[in-house]
C-alpha cells in the first residue's frame, strides 16, 4: 500500500531536470514508506492556489486497446496522493456486457475529466472549486465548506468527501505519518478537524508535479505507472503537443482511430479522451 511505484519511463522532450528530480523523489518515496519522511523532503513545495500556465490545456488520451486492466493507475494514485480509505481520485470501472457465454468485458480508468465546463465549479457556493489557467479543476481546501454540492453535481462521480477515515485507525501508526504531496504538500498530514478532512477532494492531474512555469517535471502518477502506456498525457492546446510520458503527438493519437469522451451529451467538455478498443 505505502510503496509508491516510481517506475522508470521513456524520457520525454520537455522535462529536462526530471531525472535528477526523480532520483530525489524516489528516495523520498522510499523514505516515506518507511515512515521517516519529513515535509521538507517531499520536493519543492509550491503554493496551493498556483494558476498554472495559460499556454497549456492539460488533457489525457486513454487508449483502451493498450489497457490490460491491471489497475496500477489506481494504486499509484493512492500512493502518490495518499488518499485515505473512501476517497478515490481515480477508479477503474469494469462492466460486463452480454449474457454468458457471449460476454464481453468493458473496462476503463476514470480520473477526473477536468471538464472545460465543469458542473462542480459551476455549483460550488464559495468558488473553492475553480478552473486553473491550464484547465485543471482544483479545490482550495481553505475555502471549501464541505457542502458536497459538487459531488451531487459531478456526472462522473469523480469527487469524494474526506470522511476522516484512516487505513489504520490507531493513532501514531506510521501509515498515518506519511504526508500527501498533493497541492505542493501544503496540506501534508491529515489531522482531525482540519483540511482536507471534511473537504471534498479530487484528482488534480497531480499538479504538484508541475514546476514553477507550470510544465510537468514528471507525468502524473497514473500516467507514469501505466505499464501498457495506455494513458497519454499532454497539452491539448498546442496542435503539436506531445505526451509528456511517451512522446506521441496528442492530436495525432486523437485523430488516428477516432475517439470519444464519457457522457459527451451532457456538454461538460472533458479533457479526457478515450480511444476505442
Amino acid at each position: 500500500m505505502a510503496t509508491p511505484q516510481d517506475t522508470p519511463f521513456p524520457p520525454s522532450p520537455p522535462a529536462e531536470s526530471r531525472r535528477e528530480f526523480l532520483a530525489g523523489r524516489a528516495a523520498t518515496a522510499v523514505a516515506g514508506a518507511l515512515a521517516v519522511a519529513s515535509l521538507g523532503g517531499c520536493g519543492p513545495a509550491s503554493p496551493p492556489a498556483q494558476e498554472g500556465s495559460a499556454a497549456r490545456r492539460w488533457g489525457m488520451v486513454i487508449d483502451l486497446r493498450r489497457c490490460v486492466a491491471c489497475k496500477a493507475c489506481v494504486a499509484s494514485c493512492k500512493s502518490e496522493n495518499k488518499t485515505p480509505p473512501g476517497v478515490a481520485y481515480n477508479v477503474f470501472i469494469e462492466e460486463e456486457q452480454g449474457t454468458f457465454p457471449y460476454v464481453r468485458r468493458v473496462a476503463f480508468t476514470r480520473p477526473c475529466m477536468q471538464c472545460a465546463k465543469s458542473s462542480c465549479a459551476q455549483v460550488c457556493p464559495t468558488g473553492a472549486t475553480y478552473h486553473r489557467a491550464d484547465g485543471i479543476v482544483a479545490v482550495d481546501y481553505e475555502k471549501c465548506i464541505g457542502c458536497r454540492y459538487c459531488i451531487a453535481a459531478c456526472p462522473y462521480g469523480a469527487r469524494s468527501f474526506d470522511y476522516g477515515h484512516d487505513y489504520i485507525e490507531k493513532a501514531g501508526n506510521p501509515y498515518n505519518e506519511i504526508p500527501s504531496s498533493e497541492y505542493g504538500a501544503s496540506y501534508g498530514l491529515r489531522h482531525k478537524g482540519g483540511s482536507p478532512e471534511g473537504n471534498v477532494r479530487k484528482c488534480t492531474f497531480c499538479l504538484h508535479l508541475q514546476d514553477e512555469k507550470g510544465e510537468y517535471r514528471e507525468p502524473p502518477a497514473c500516467v507514469r505507472t501505466c505499464m501498457g502506456k495506455a494513458i497519454h498525457f499532454g497539452d491539448l492546446k498546442d496542435p503539436e503537443g506531445v505526451c509528456v510520458a511517451h512522446g506521441e503527438k496528442m492530436q495525432a493519437l486523437l485523430a488516428h482511430r477516432g475517439n470519444y469522451r464519457l457522457k459527451e451529451e451532457l456538454g461538460n467538455e472533458p479533457a479526457v479522451y478515450y480511444l476505442p478498443v
Binding site: P125, G146, A152, G157, S160
Partner: protein
C-alpha cells in the same frame, strides 16, 4: 395524537409528552456535539449519496417556513382580515422552522465554521450561494415582521404589570406608541415587508429547489418543474402545520377559530391538489419518454425498496387522507379532524422531501462504480444511521419544546385588542 385535541389533555399525559420530547432533545444534542467534535465519519452518506436525512429535513423545515410566511402575506399584504389572529403564529412558525433547518444544514457541512465563505467568497453561478444570500435576507424580513405584528400586544402586556411585564417591556424595544397613527404605520410596514418578503421567500425556497433542479447529473432533479413543485409543496406543508398549530394553540372565540381553521384547511387542501397535479404531470412525462437515466430515479421512488415512502407516507397519508378529511361532510367540520389532517399533511411532506433528496442519488454515476472501490463510502444505497436519526429527531423535538416555551413568552394570539382577556392563563 393527543395534541390534536382542542382542549388541554390530561396533565399526566402532557407531562409524559414533554419528557419524551426532552429525552429526544438531549439525545439529539449529544449527537450534534458528537458530530461537531468528530466530523462526518459517523454519517451513513456515501460518495454516491452525499446528501442524506439531514438535507431532506432541511428542505422540509425550509418549506414549512416559506409556506407559512407566504400564507401570512395573505393577511399582511392581501388584507385577508379573517385570518388575522393567526398572523403572529404563522410568522413564528416561519422563523422557527427556518432556524431549525439552518441548524441541520450547518451540521451537514464538513467545515461548519467556514459558513461565512458562502457570502465572503460568493460564487454567482451557484444556486446554493444565492440561497445563502436570500436565507439571511429572509430571516431579517421575518424577524422585523414578527416584531411589528406583536408590537401593540407587547406594549399592552408590558404595561399590564405582573411577573412577565419586564420581559414584554424588553421585547417592545422601547417602543410605546399605540396611537392609531402608529398602528397604521405598523400595518404599512408589515405590508411593505410582506411585499418584499414574497419574492424573498420564493427565492429562498425556489432557490433550494433550483439547487436540485440545475443538477443535470441527477436526471430526476433536472426539471424546470422542480422548483415549482418545491414551492407548491412548501405552501401545502406550511398550511398544514399552521392548521394543526391553530387547532392546538389558537385562543380566540370558538366560532372564530372554527372559521379560521376551516379556511386554512381548505386553502391547504387546494394547494395539495395542485401539488398532486404537478407531480402527476412530471411522472407521466418522465415515464412516457422513458429516457433510461431519467426514469431510473422515478422508478426508485415509485417501485424501489422504499416505495412505501411514496405510496404510503407521501401519497396516502400525506395527501389523499387529508383531502378526504377536509372534504368529508362531518370530518370537514370537526376541529379535531382538521387538526389531524394538518398533522398528516406535515408527516406526508417529510416523505415527499425524502423522496426528493435520496432516490435521485441512489443510482451511481456509472452502474458498476460501487464495485470499483470496496469501501462503505462507495457502497450502493443509503439508509440513515442512528446518528442521523438522533440528530434529525432531536432537532424536531427541540423545535417542539422551543415552540411550547416561546408560546408562553410571546403574545401570539388575541390580536384583537381584548385587554381584559387573560390569554396567558388558559395553558399550564
Amino acid at each position: 395524537m393527543s395534541e390534536s385535541n382542542t382542549h388541554a389533555p390530561a396533565g399526566g399525559l402532557r407531562l409524559l409528552g414533554y419528557l419524551v420530547l426532552a429525552a429526544l432533545s438531549l439525545v439529539g444534542l449529544k449527537a450534534i456535539i458528537g458530530t461537531l467534535a468528530d466530523g462526518h465519519g459517523a454519517l451513513a452518506t456515501t460518495q454516491h449519496v452525499p446528501w442524506g436525512l439531514w438535507v431532506a429535513l432541511y428542505i422540509f423545515f425550509l418549506g414549512l417556513s416559506a409556506g407559512s410566511f407566504l400564507l401570512s402575506t395573505l393577511i399582511y399584504v392581501f388584507g385577508m382580515k379573517s385570518l388575522k389572529p393567526v398572523g403572529p403564529l404563522a410568522l413564528l412558525q416561519a422563523l422557527g422552522c427556518l432556524l431549525l433547518g439552518g441548524l441541520l444544514i450547518i451540521l451537514d457541512l464538513g467545515h461548519p465554521a467556514r459558513l461565512a465563505n458562502v457570502i465572503l467568497h460568493m460564487n454567482p453561478t451557484s444556486a446554493m450561494a444565492w440561497m445563502g444570500i436570500f436565507y439571511n435576507l429572509y430571516i431579517l424580513v421575518v424577524l422585523v415582521e414578527l416584531y411589528l405584528a406583536m408590537r401593540p400586544r407587547l406594549i399592552e402586556l408590558a404595561s399590564a404589570g405582573g411577573a412577565m411585564s419586564r420581559w414584554y417591556c424588553l421585547l417592545t424595544l422601547g417602543s410605546s406608541n399605540t396611537s392609531a397613527a402608529a398602528l397604521a404605520r405598523d400595518q404599512g410596514w408589515l405590508k411593505a415587508l410582506g411585499i418584499l418578503g414574497i419574492p424573498v421567500a420564493i427565492a429562498v425556497h425556489g432557490g433550494v429547489g433550483a439547487i436540485f433542479a440545475v443538477t443535470k447529473a441527477r436526471a430526476l432533479w433536472y426539471s424546470g418543474l422542480f422548483p415549482i413543485i418545491f414551492l407548491i409543496s412548501a405552501l401545502a406543508s406550511g398550511g398544514a402545520l399552521l392548521t394543526f398549530l391553530s387547532v392546538v394553540t389558537l385562543k380566540v372565540p370558538e366560532e372564530q377559530k372554527r372559521k379560521i381553521v376551516r379556511l386554512l384547511a381548505r386553502l391547504t387542501t387546494g394547494i395539495l391538489c395542485f401539488d398532486l397535479l404537478l407531480l402527476a404531470s412530471e411522472i407521466l412525462v418522465v415515464f412516457y419518454g422513458g429516457l433510461p437515466h431519467h426514469a431510473d430515479g422515478w422508478r426508485q421512488v415509485l417501485f424501489g425498496p422504499y416505495s412505501w415512502v411514496f405510496w404510503g407516507l407521501q401519497l396516502a397519508l400525506g395527501t389523499l387522507l387529508p383531502i378526504l378529511i377536509v372534504g368529508g361532510r362531518r370530518t370537514g367540520q370537526s376541529m379535531k379532524w382538521l387538526g389531524f389532517a394538518g398533522l398528516l399533511g406535515v408527516l406526508g411532506i417529510i416523505g415527499a422531501r425524502l423522496n426528493i433528496v435520496i432516490p435521485a442519488q441512489i443510482t451511481p454515476m456509472f452502474p458498476t462504480l460501487p464495485e470499483a472501490y470496496h469501501h462503505m463510502r462507495y457502497a450502493y444505497g443509503y439508509f440513515p444511521n442512528s446518528t442521523e436519526w438522533q440528530v434529525g429527531l432531536g432537532v424536531c423535538a427541540l423545535g417542539w419544546l422551543a415552540f411550547v416555551l416561546v408560546r408562553k413568552c410571546l403574545p401570539l394570539d388575541g390580536q384583537e385588542h381584548s385587554a381584559t382577556a387573560s390569554s396567558g392563563g388558559g395553558e399550564a
